[in-house]
């Protein structure tokens, strides 16, 4: 019995967040290099917070407000971001793999050098978002609002842009399928 409890405690310690980091974040509006794995931060107002190099793996961040937050080089692997706000947030160098970002607001967000693999951006609002050098693979941008967004040095061939708004979206040095190429032209996107 004691052995089982010990294993459970060790497991919890190894794979979940540090409560002290959540307390620091809520009190000081900043927590760099912090551990928020598995944490439930859903619905919190974290606008303008300094959260660089933090770990949000498996966290619940749905409807959380990260307006203008600095989240550079953070890990969001497998996190739930549905309805969250990352308006003008800095996510550069972050890992956004296997995330659910349905109806998430990335307006004007910096997503440069991010890793976006097997993720769901369905119906996201990503006007003027910057995806320069992002490693995008097998990601669903269906019905996303990507107007005036900037794709530079990306490979979108195995991702979906179906029904996405691509008005004045810039695709510079981006690998596309023929079907995507035709759709971008219909949508008045800009291919360079």
């Amino acid at each position: 019995m004691r052995k089982s409890i010990l294993i459970l405690v060790l497991y919890t310690t190894l794979f979940s967040f540090e409560q002290i980091h959540i307390t620091k974040l809520l009190e000081e509006d900043e927590c760099q290099n912090c551990d928020f794995r598995e944490a439930n931060l859903s619905g919190l107002d974290l606008s303008g917070c300094e959260l660089q190099n933090s770990n949000f793996k498996n966290a619940n961040l749905s409807h959380t407000n990260f307006f203008m937050a600095d989240l550079e080089k953070s890990n969001f692997e497998n996190a739930k971001l549905d309805g969250a706000v990352f308006w003008k947030a800095n996510l550069s160098g972050s890992n956004l793999s296997s995330i659910s970002a349905i109806k998430t607001n990335f307006k004007g967000a910096n997503l440069n050098n991010t890793i976006i693999k097997n993720s769901n951006f369905n119906s996201s609002i990503s006007w003027k978002a910057n995806f320069k050098n992002a490693k995008i693979q097998n990601t669903d941008f269906t019905k996303s609002e990507l107007g005036s967004a900037n794709f530079y040095n990306n490979d979108l061939r195995n991702s979906s842009l179906n029904s996405a708004i691509l008005w004045k979206t810039i695709f510079h040095n981006t690998k596309l399928t023929k079907k995507q190429y035709e759709y971008i032209n219909i949508e008045e996107g800009i291919i360079k």
Binding site: D45, G48, K107, W127, E145, G147, S148, I165, K168, E188
Partner: protein, 131 residues
Amino acid sequence: MRILLSIIFSFLTLLATPISKDIDFINIYKDVKNTEKITLMIYTTKSCPQCAYMKQKVFKDKFIKNILDEHFSILQKDVQVDELPDGFKYFGIPTIFFIDKDANKLGEFIGSCRAKEFSHKLKEIIKKAKN
């Protein structure tokens, strides 16, 4: 930062006047052909791509344009330049307010969408105005 924004917002709210006294709103209904129309007031800025999409693409869609011409008068407010009327707060831009000639708010729409979806919103507002 949040405190500063709250102070600025509270200060601007104190300065605001009701839409019924807004000079642009008054001018719309001075024109006889607009008396039965609904005012579509859009909050915008010069650097807002979503606003540009709504104004340059959606409002100019053939089907939408016909509805707008027949039932609506458009009033634009640049949130960084113009004085905004009291009672018409916004969180993000574009925000579109629908107002009847008696200055009653009939509804609002935040963000952007395709013409087809916007046509449903317009029809809903027209129906509401008639009731």
